[in-house]
């Protein structure tokens, strides 16, 4: 789709830059995946080589599947990530709707207060969170993780969604009011479908740090029953000996679920059924 004003050289350079960036981004992922299929000696001797007949080995995957309850870890990660995303999107959208739709005293202040969370890392409050969870008896439960991640994801979600909701036509909401839709119906049936691309963006931004997090699972839910994938992979990393095959295999496996979620959300991002609703 190069416009006539673009010279082939310029287009070429742009593509070169994009290809270079793609390679840099994919390199660690590819390295992890190819090495997960090699023997331990081959990993260290030629880390860049593809697995050949002599170096191919499934030992990493065998270890991962045998040792520990890896399916359980995946399930934990999945539950925590999905429930957190759902809660972040639901509460984030609700807060964003009230901030953008209704005039009330302290609206701006409340919006700022909710946005401050973007700038202050939630980990600063780890000690207090841990104390709170202990007091509430939630240590070693997935609920603890879900609560923390929901809190962590909300500020950005509210910030992005309220900006998007401001762009939804007032006329459309008023038409709904005149047609007898309740405020809830206006929120769920008119506004949410229209901000779906923004919801997908928020979902992606929320999901990745949660899936990859090691900090809170380690502190709040290190028990065998509540281990997440990232935490589960850590058992192969020892102080003196690290089972690299197993670590790489576990990480390779951990990429796929998050990739699938990403594909689902990014399709939503692109889809534009809302075009032409209002001029």
């Amino acid at each position: 789709m190069a416009k006539p004003t673009h010279s082939p050289l310029r287009t070429g350079l742009v593509h070169l830059a994009l290809v270079a960036y793609t390679l840099i981004s994919l390199f660690p992922v590819v390295l992890t995946i190819i090495n997960s299929f090699k023997t331990k000696n081959a990993i260290f001797r030629e880390p860049m080589a593809l697995p050949g007949p002599s170096s191919f080995s499934m030992i990493g995957y065998e270890t991962v599947l045998k040792q520990g309850d890896f399916l359980g870890y995946f399930q934990n990660s999945f539950i925590v990530t999905l429930v957190s995303i759902v809660l972040v999107l639901l509460f984030g959208a609700m807060a964003a709707f009230s901030l953008s739709e209704y005039r009330f005293r302290g609206n701006t202040m409340l919006g700022l207060y909710l946005a401050i969370g973007i700038m202050i890392p939630i980990r600063l409050g780890t000690v207090a969170i841990l104390q709170g969870m202990v007091a509430a008896g939630l240590v070693n439960t997935l609920t603890a993780l879900i609560l923390v991640y929901t809190a962590q994801g909300l500020p950005l979600a509210i910030f992005i969604l309220s900006e998007f909701m401001r762009t939804v036509s007032d006329d459309l909401k008023n038409a709904g009011r005149i047609d007898g839709l309740s405020e809830y119906a206006i929120f769920f049936r008119l506004v949410l479908p229209l901000v779906r691309p923004a919801m997908a963006t928020v979902a992606v931004f929320t999901m990745i740090p949660i899936w990859n997090d090691l900090w809170f699972p380690l502190i709040l839910a290190p028990g065998e029953a509540t281990k997440t994938v990232t935490l589960g992979s850590q058992m192969f990393i020892g102080q003196f000996v690290t089972n690299w095959n197993a670590v790489l295999a576990a990480l390779s496996l951990a990429i796929f679920p998050v990739l699938i979620l990403y594909v689902i959300f990014s399709r939503q991002l692109i889809r534009g059924i809302t075009a032409g609703a209002v001029k």
Partner: protein
């Protein structure tokens, strides 16, 4: 079927008063148009009548019933918006039927009403389409259809033609006029376009800065403007307003004369002037001239006339059509 009384309605946003005590009486079946410059409060007044904004003070009665505490959906109104405001995820048919569905109307009845409305607006071929698959004019017809289907006591139009191009605007204007005749419904229409106001209305309400300047039929406003604001606002090109002192007229502060009530001559006349600019429109020729006595004048001549900039001409007002205004801007009659 649908009358409306508005009594000393006020609306303030914080300390800013947008409506400063509006009184209005709309009879059943009337087509009333609110017209005024942007920011005059006409849309706010419409939204207060619709119940989308609460009035700060005053009362609104539809069909004699006080509706101050009644939600929009229960007021028996339907509204057509400038931006169409169609539900993007619903088909044309569902867009039109949603209001009735929410009110619990039986399915058969909804089908019947949607069919009737879509026949009126020739929308039948599009019933299964989504708004995104329609052109601007079709979308606005769907929005009008959505209003008709509800069989409301009051139709409210909020600048419904502003987003349409010129040709479509004329066509839709005729359609709205036809609908008003067929439905015999009470309609309230907001616009900043005085041509729409003059062509559609039974009664025009001219608003300025949150207050009613004058209420009357289009011809009343044109022939007997109550004050300077209405005189300058109604009529296109705008009325020439001349300082009475310059003309040596006693008993008035400002003299008003419409461009079409001034005649031009190359030989003789009351005001000598030099042509500044000429607009040839075919049916009319509009001549702008700078006169010594009356200042900048606009003259509208019917038919084609060969005037060019820098011509020296004489303008004479038709003395029967002169409007006089006092120091407060009120018309002297």
């Amino acid at each position: 079927m649908g009358s409306l009384q508005v009594n000393s309605v006020r609306k303030a946003f914080g300390n800013h008063e947008v409506l400063k005590g509006i009184d209005l009486d709309v009879k059943d079946g009337e087509f009333v148009i609110f017209v005024g410059p942007s920011g005059c409060g006409k849309s706010t007044l419409l939204r207060v009548i619709a119940g989308l904004e609460d009035a700060t003070a005053g009362s609104i009665r539809i069909d004699g019933q006080e509706v101050g505490a009644v939600p929009p959906a229960k007021r028996g109104i339907a509204m057509v918006f400038q931006s169409y405001a169609l539900y993007p995820h619903l088909t044309v048919k569902d867009n039109m039927g949603l209001g009735l569905k929410q009110a619990g109307t039986p399915k058969v009845e909804i089908e019947k009403r949607v069919a009737r409305a879509s026949a009126m607006l020739s929308l039948e071929p599009y019933l299964a389409r989504r708004p995104a698959e329609l052109s601007g004019g079709q979308r606005q017809r769907v929005a009008i259809g959505r209003a008709i289907v509800r069989e409301p006591k009051l139709f409210l139009f909020d600048e419904p033609l502003s987003n349409l191009d010129a040709a479509l605007r004329v066509q839709t204007r005729l359609e709205i006029a036809r609908l008003h005749r067929e439905l015999k419904a009470t309609m309230i229409y907001v616009t900043h376009d005085q041509v729409e106001a003059m062509t559609l209305a039974d009664k025009i309400v001219v608003l300025s800065a949150g207050a009613v300047e004058q209420v009357g039929s289009p011809m009343e406003l044109y022939n007997r403007p109550a004050n300077l604001f209405v005189a300058g606002f109604i009529g296109s090109p705008a009325m020439n307003l001349i300082d009475a002192e310059r003309l040596g007229e006693a008993g008035a502060k400002t003299i008003g004369i419409r461009p079409e009530h001034v005649s031009l001559s190359r030989e003789s006349g009351e005001w000598q002037g030099k042509v500044v600019h000429v607009e040839h429109l075919g049916a009319d020729t509009i001549v702008y001239l700078e006169s010594e006595k009356a200042g900048l004048l606009t003259v509208r001549l019917f038919g084609e006339h060969r005037y060019a900039p820098d011509d020296i001409v004489y303008a004479s007002p038709d003395s029967a059509s002169i409007h006089r205004f006092d120091a407060n801007g009120k018309a002297i009659r």
